[in-house]
Symmetry: C3
Subunit: 325 residues, 3 copies
C-alpha cells in the first residue's frame, strides 16, 4: 500500500523511454543484451517492490523467477538470465545515474520544475495537496506532489518534499522531510555521482516529529514512519528506513539506510543503527546504544555494539571490579 | 524569579475554569473527589513551583503539607489526602491532556491564535516585545509572548517561541528555541496524546547559542540557561533542564529532560545526559561521555557510563594491556 | 590558494589602523612594546598563514625568524623578541577581541552592514556573486561576500555566509554554512567574550552537503572541504577544519576545530574527532568512533578512543568471553 504512490506526481518524467532507446543511451556501458520485447518503460523498481513495465538495477545475483511483471534488468553479471530481459553493463550504479537523470526530474539535478504560491508566509507548491484543516506555520516549504492530511500541524521553517503526510501529524520547526538520501558508489564520489533518489517519505497518521530532524526519502521506494510514532528532536532517519507503528525515538538518534524497526519500539537518545538490519517488535534500545546487528522481538539492548542489557550491565560491573583489583 | 512568568502571555486561556466544572469535563475519568471549595482555577503548577489557585498533577505520593497555596490535586492514588482538594482519576496523564487542551491554546493544538508583522524579512508576533537595539536576521519567526532584551542578535532562519531572551544573547542560524518537549505517557503514543507543554524557555544575559540547536520549553515551568553560557552547534536541550551560569557545552551534546547542571560546567561534544540527574558546580565532562547518574561538585568524568576520568583512563589502558597478553 | 581570499569582501573594515594607534586602544592591557615601525595594518594573520602588514596573536612561544613578512605580534611572554615588532599584553585573547571588534564588522557584533534583494523567495546580499546557472531554493539567505559557482544547487532554508562555494556543489535544506566558530577563552565566558571569527568557509567543486548540517567559518583562515566530498545530514564541521578531496562523512558526525583529514577518507555516522588532530590519507573510521589522536595513512579505526579496528573487534570478543567465564 505504502509503495503504491505515483512517482510522476513527485518526479516529473522528462521523456518516455522505449526499451530499445536504452542501448544508445547507455552507449559504451553496455556489454551484452538480450532485448527482444519493446514495451514502454513506465517506472523504475527495486527488488523489494517490482512494478510492471519497469527497470530493475541488480548488483548481485537474485532469483526473479517468481516475479511475473514485465521488466528489464540492468545487471553486472549474467548468469541464468535466459528468462527475462536484461542489459549487462559495466557499472550498474553509473547506468542507474545515466538512465534516471535522463528519465526523471529530481531536486538534485538542475531545472526541477515546480511552481509555488505563498500561503501564510510559507511557500506551497501548486502541485501539492494540503487539507484545509492543516495549520501551516511561517517560512515553510511544501514541494511538488506533497499531500498533507486532516488536522496536521506543520510548524515554522519546515521543508517537506516528496512526501505523503497523514492526518494529525505534527512536524516541528526547522525539520527537513523528503530530503536526499546518502546513496552513491563509494568508488565514485562527488555531487554529480550521487544516485538519483526518486522515492518518497510516507508518514502515517498521528505521528509527532520534533525539531531539526531529517527524514530522507526512499531511493526508489518509501521511507515509512508508522502510526502513532513519536520522534524527538534532531533525529536522523535515512532512506528506505521502515518504522512500524508506535515507535518512540529519543533525540539525536540516527537510523541508517534500509533499517526495519518493528512495532512498539522504544529507542533512547543518541542511539545509532547500522544499515540494513531488522529490529523486532517491542524492542527497547537504551540511550547511546550502537546497534550493529538485527535484534529479535521483545529484546532490551544497550551499549556499543549493542547487546542484551543485562550482559551490558554485568560487563560494566566487571570493568569496575577490574579497576579495583 | 525565572518561574514568575505570566503563562497567558504565551498560552492564551481558552476559558476560565471553576473547580466544579472539572468533574463534568473529566467525566468517566473521575474515581473520587473531595471538592468543597469553589475557587477559580488560575493556573497549572508543577510540584517544584506551586502557584496559588492552581491545579497540580501528581503521579506518585508526595507531601504537600508545607504548601499553603490554594490548590487542587489530580491524583491517581488517594492516601492521606484529607488536607487538600483532590480529584482521584483513572489516569493522571490523560486528565492532564484533557484539562490543558480545554484550558489553554498551545502550538500543538489547532487554531493557536497569533498575528504577525514582517520585520526585516522575518515574522514577528504582534504579541512579542523585541528591544529596538536587537539585530534580527532574515526568515526568523518570533512568536507570541516572546521578549528579547538589549543588543541581542538573532540570526537567520531562527525560530523563537514561548521564550524570554535576555540582553546580549546571540542565537545563530537555524536554531529552534521554545519548541515542544518530548513529554507523554509511554503507554499512550501518538501526536494526539502528547502532553501539552505550557512552560517557557528563559535564556539569561550574555548567552551564546550556536546553529541548528533545539531548546525545548518547560512542560509547566521553565527551561533555563544561565548567564554567560556558551552553547555550540547542534546541541539539544530538553524540557525543564536548568543550566546555571557560565556553562560551556560543545557541539552535538544532548541533555535530557529535567537535568540540573551547576555553574561553570564544561561539557565536551557528543555527550549525553540521562534525565532527572543533578550535575554539581565546576564539573568537567569529557567529549562523548554518557552521564547516567548525578555528579558531585568539581568532578571530572569521561566514558559511558561516565565515571571519574582517571578511572576511565586506567580502564582504557587495562583493555589495551589485555589485548597484548 | 584557499587562504588568499580578500577578508574585507566578507568583513568590512571599520577603520584602518596604524600600528601606533594600537597602544592607546589596548590601554591598560599593554605591558611592554618595541614598536618602531609605523606600517599601516592591513590584515590579521594566523601562524599558519602569515600575511604582509598583519597582526599576529601568539599565545605560546614560536619561531618566527623564517617569516619575512612585515608583522606585529601580540604576545603574552617576551622572550627572544628583538627581531620583530611586538606588543606584550596581559591577555592575548582579550586583546584579540578588542582589536578585531575595533577593526572589522562581523556578524556577532551589532550593525553588521549588508543589503539584500529578494530572489525566488530567498534573501541574497547585494555583495554576493551567484552564478546565473545556480538553482536557489526558497527561504535561503546568501550573505555578504559569498560567491557560488556554476550549476550549484542551494536548496531551501539554507544559510550561507562568509563562504566561497565552487561549481556543482549541492547544499541541502536547513543547512548553515559559514556560521560562527566556537572560539573563546574558557576563563572568560559569555557571548560578549567570544573571539571574533573573521575567516571563511571554502567548499570546492562537486561537493554534496546534506540537510541540517553546520559548517563554521575559520577563525582567521579557512574551513575547507575538498573536491568531490560527500557530507551526509546533521554533520557538524568546526572552524579551521581542513578536509581533503573525496571525503565521505556519514550522518551526525562531528569534527572539532582545526582537524586535518587527508584525502579519500570514509567516516561512519555519529563519529567524533577531537580538535587539532591529523587524519592521514585513505583512512576509514567506523561508525560511532571517538577519534582522540592523529591517525596515519591507510588506517582503519573503530571504537572510543578509536583504535585499529582489528584490535577493537578483539577487545569486543574478549569482553564477551569474560562475560561467560
Amino acid at each position: 500500500m505504502i509503495e503504491s504512490f505515483i512517482r510522476s506526481n513527485f518526479f516529473p518524467i522528462k521523456k518516455n523511454l522505449c526499451l530499445n532507446e536504452l542501448l544508445p543511451l547507455l552507449g559504451d556501458m553496455v556489454i551484452k543484451s538480450n532485448i527482444s520485447d519493446d514495451f514502454l518503460i513506465q517506472d523504475i523498481s527495486s527488488l523489494t517492490s517490482i512494478r510492471n513495465n519497469s527497470i530493475l538495477f541488480i548488483e548481485k545475483k537474485v532469483d526473479l523467477l517468481n516475479h511475473n511483471k514485465k521488466k528489464l534488468c540492468l545487471i553486472s553479471n549474467i548468469d541464468n538470465t535466459d528468462d527475462f530481459n536484461y542489459i549487462q553493463v559495466k557499472n550498474v550504479s553509473e547506468s542507474y545515474n545515466l538512465i534516471l537523470n535522463n528519465f526523471y526530474y529530481h531536486e538534485d539535478s538542475s531545472n526541477f520544475p515546480d511552481e509555488y504560491t505563498s500561503i501564510n508566509g510559507s511557500h506551497v507548491s501548486k502541485y501539492s495537496q494540503i487539507h484545509k484543516s492543516v495549520n501551516l506555520g511561517k517560512n515553510s516549504v511544501i514541494g511538488r506532489g506533497v499531500s498533507i492530511g486532516k488536522n496536521s500541524i506543520i510548524k515554522n521553517n519546515v521543508v517537506i518534499k516528496n512526501s505523503i503526510i497523514g492526518n494529525n501529524v505534527v512536524v516541528c520547526d526547522n525539520t527537513s522531510i523528503g530530503t536526499t538520501g546518502f546513496g552513491f558508489d563509494l568508488n565514485k564520489r562527488g555531487s554529480t555521482y550521487l544516485n538519483p533518489q526518486i522515492g518518497i517519505v510516507y508518514i502515517d497518521n498521528n505521528v509527532h516529529i520534533g525539531s531539526n530532524c531529517t527524514i530522507d526519502r526512499g531511493k526508489i521506494d518509501t521511507t515509512y514512519i508508522g502510526k502513532n510514532s513519536m520522534i524527538d528532536n534532531m533525529v536522523h532517519i535515512a532512506h528506505n528506513v521502515h518504522i512500524e507503528d508506535n515507535a518512540c525515538i529519543a533525540a539525536q538518534t540516527g537510523i541508517s539506510g534500509s533499517v526495519f524497526i518493528g512495532k512498539n519500539s522504544t529507542i533512547g537518545g543518541q542511539s545509532g543503527f547500522a544499515g540494513h538490519i531488522k529490529i523486532g517488535d517491542n524492542v527497547i534500545v537504551a540511550a547511546k546504544s550502537g546497534v550493529t546487528k538485527s535484534i529479535s522481538d521483545n529484546s532490551i539492548v544497550a551499549g556499543f555494539p549493542a547487546t542484551d542489557i543485562k550482559e551490558w550491565k554485568k560487563s560494566i560491573i566487571r570493568q569496575k571490579k577490574n579497576g579495583h583489583k
